[in-house]
Amino acid sequence: MERTATVDSAMNSGALEVRDIEKRFSGVPVLRGVSVAVRPGEVVGLVGHNGAGKSTLLRIISGAHRQDAGQLLVGGEEQSFSSPADAHEAGIATVYQELSLLPNLTVAQNAFLGVELRKGGILDRARMRRETRELTESFGLDVDPDRKVRDYPVATRQLLEVAIATRRGARFLLLDEPTTSLEGAQVERFLGTVRELAAQGFGIVLVDHKLEELYAVASRIVALVDGRIRIDAAVSEVSRDDVIQAIAGHAMEHTPARERIAPPASDESAPALRAVGVRTRALRSVSLDARAGRVLGLYGLVGSGRTEFLRTLIGLDPVLDGSIELGGAAFRPRTPAHAAAQGIVYVTEERKTDGIVPLLDAGANVTLPVVGRFTRAGFLQRARLRQEAVERMDQLSVLGDRLGPVVRLSGGNQQKVLLARALAQKPRILLLDEPTKGVDLGVKAQIHRMIVSLAHDEGLTVIVVSSEEDEICEIADDIVIFAHGSTSPDVLDASDVTPNDLRTLAWSAA
């Protein structure tokens, strides 16, 4: 590999550094004074629990967000990025999990996008083709510069994106969980490339949940916990246990008081829902039981397969292997409507994309899936429909303007509208994905009480996915841990589990 020019400039330019970065989102502090530096030639492994602030930190460094306080320096000079393009200019390239190459252009066109080489006004295609080939070969990639990027698998595109970033004058690479979509040998090769790039003088920040991968390439480990740096040390100085301890240890000294009606003892009769060895495109093997009248919490790191499992239950991902039973009878999910007919209702995590219909009013959003029940001779019975909506919204105490577009309600009330919609479908099994995401603390506690009451008082089977350990510990009766698309063999009794334990378990499994 010869990219001497790049190496020299990277060596001379000094470190990428953030000092005392603070960032809040709607009043909630996410980063509380973070200082960290990456020097050229160094791989910094950034770890942290879900919601620790890793992504926010990366977004600030890459110009996608602006910090509320603190400085960002490259080579000692303070920078002010108002867009990702500014960060690019300063030599910072970010490779996110969702790839940003253009699939409809060729490899060479992507490599030279915006900086095309020309000869006499027209493109110098021969030279771009040649340089692209040299570049890809130096990364050990066997790609044809003239083929469209969409013809290549994700793993290749990921390496291609890194390769292209290095070509475009990047000196610092931020890699956000780059190995999640890779497998075995591909991971090895990717990590090899990372090591080699560092040797050439690139400064690299690698965000990764898998400690073994980090320990294989990183020179320094930085652990971000609740918006603060907990560990910043050379790999030789911290053990994996230290890292897990740091991430888990802080998790809330106080375990919230659990004053609530005791759940009905888990009887030995058939569970309301049973999954045995379920395998899909995204899941390896998921086995669990969910019982009526109880809240089952699913915990795991982002990408461990929790959401995918819920989506499988309503037929959005075909089951390749294994079986699902409902009250002892075999069940094969087909479509969300089919699942709803069986009493399985899913409340999405992405409220804005596949939850609310933003411009309809709250009531219409609530009754959307059940309007067919409120007709006579093909015409809507508007009064009955309105009454149903009002009852459901009262049940969940939806506040605010119920007659205006639902999108004008607060996040918490929008979430209640979605819950109300789920209840209008009279579910037996309620699947909740991050039920309090982006919801303020007061409403959060309210939603928690409602979820518990739905299970304990009304006998519903509730399955909750949450990235917040506290939330899982507070509302779940039983907990199952997900890692790499599989479930833990044991069901944890939520009353003996602390948020610390959850983090420790999830990270040890990762």
Binding site: S100, L101, N104, Q109, L113, I122
Partner: protein, 330 residues
């Protein structure tokens, strides 16, 4: 070894098959004279389709081209009616065409308005102006040199066909061999990525609409020159419909980022062939829009399903765009 089957092969095969079938049915169809008529009649649609291709490649659409034909054709006739030479009239028409396109592109880019609505509105504006200017009457053209554009021929090839050919070659060079061409595909592929790569997005978008406007002006010149009369309602028929049909059946994606000039040109030839063939065979003309409508549906079905999950991709793009907005604290 680098050669792969060009994507235009499919549409080329369809054109050949349709032509062979029509030749077998009708002796009139397979005459050289009919071939000339076919191409001549297809020239305006072809021009509009070429311009439309640029706009579609960026993910937009230009509905104003049909009435832009009437506007620019009338501008040419009016310019000559006040005594200007034919070439000045042609330049004036082209300038007005480009102006309409520039307005479209600027509204789309700088005010972030949906292309469909913007060009729908300018379609109405451009359709009215020639009627207002002339009080809805036609304006005849006296300058015999102006007739060359629509009626002349070189080595038996009608002038409009030659103009289309030259434009197609120039446009192919622009799209394949210049940075601007790559940028047009990139903007249609993903605007955010393009912005990050430092592509001048505004310039690219205004340019494609301007090119479409210019192509409409050539259409207007051809129409006015062939008739030697400026009709205020020229181009208000099926031209727009057929030009979008030509581009789409020629493999230009309505989602942006995919397609080529040769494809669009073949699409225009197919539409012209079908239309001419139906005339020659004696099918009543009411049937033509129906058949072409069916051809458009076929083209769109292929466009939607040729990529593995185009709709899914489209959705996930929307999802990403919306996720970028709210504060994500993960």
């Amino acid at each position: 070894m680098r050669r792969r089957t060009p994507e235009e092969l499919g549409i080329a095969a369809v054109v050949v098959i349709v032509a062979l079938v029509l030749s077998a049915i009708s002796p009139t169809f397979r005459t050289l004279e009919n071939a000339q008529i076919l191409l001549l009649n297809g020239a305006v649609i072809a021009f509009l389709a070429l311009g439309q291709t640029f706009v579609l490649l960026t993910g937009g659409i230009d509905l104003s081209t049909g009435s832009n034909v009437a506007l620019t054709g009338m501008i040419a006739a009016l310019t000559m009616s006040v005594g200007a030479p034919w070439w000045l009239a042609a330049l004036a028409a082209i300038a007005v065409g480009i102006l309409v396109g520039t307005v479209n592109g600027s509204l789309v880019h700088f005010l972030k308005l949906p292309p469909f609505i913007v060009t729908f509105a300018t379609f109405g504006v451009a359709a009215s102006i020639p009627l207002i200017l002339t009080g809805a009457s036609s304006v005849s053209v006296k300058d015999p040199f102006f007739a060359i554009i629509g009626r002349g021929s070189i080595f038996g090839i009608p002038m409009p066909v030659l103009l289309v050919a030259v434009a197609a070659i120039v446009f192919t060079i622009v799209l394949r061999l210049t940075p601007t061409g790559v940028h047009i595909y990139a903007v249609g592929g993903n605007q955010e990525t393009s912005r990050l790569a430092g592509i001048p997005i505004g310039r690219t978008i205004v340019l494609v609409y301007a090119i479409s406007g210019m192509c409409a002006a050539f259409g207007g010149l051809i129409v006015t020159s062939r008739l030697m009369v400026g009709y205020p309602s020229a181009g208000s028929g099926n031209e727009l419909f057929y030009s979008i049909a030509a581009a789409v059946v020629g493999g230009v994606s309505l989602f942006g980022g995919i397609g080529s000039i040769p494809g669009a040109l073949l699409g225009a030839v197919l539409i012209a062939t079908v239309s001419n063939g139906m005339n020659v065979v004696g099918v009543q003309s009411y049937w033509q829009p129906l058949v072409i409508g069916v051809i458009i549906l076929g083209g769109i079905i292929i466009d939607t399903y040729r990529r593995r999950v185009p709709l899914g991709e489209l959705l996930s793009r929307l999802v990403k765009r919306r996720q970028a907005a709210p504060a994500d604290q993960a």
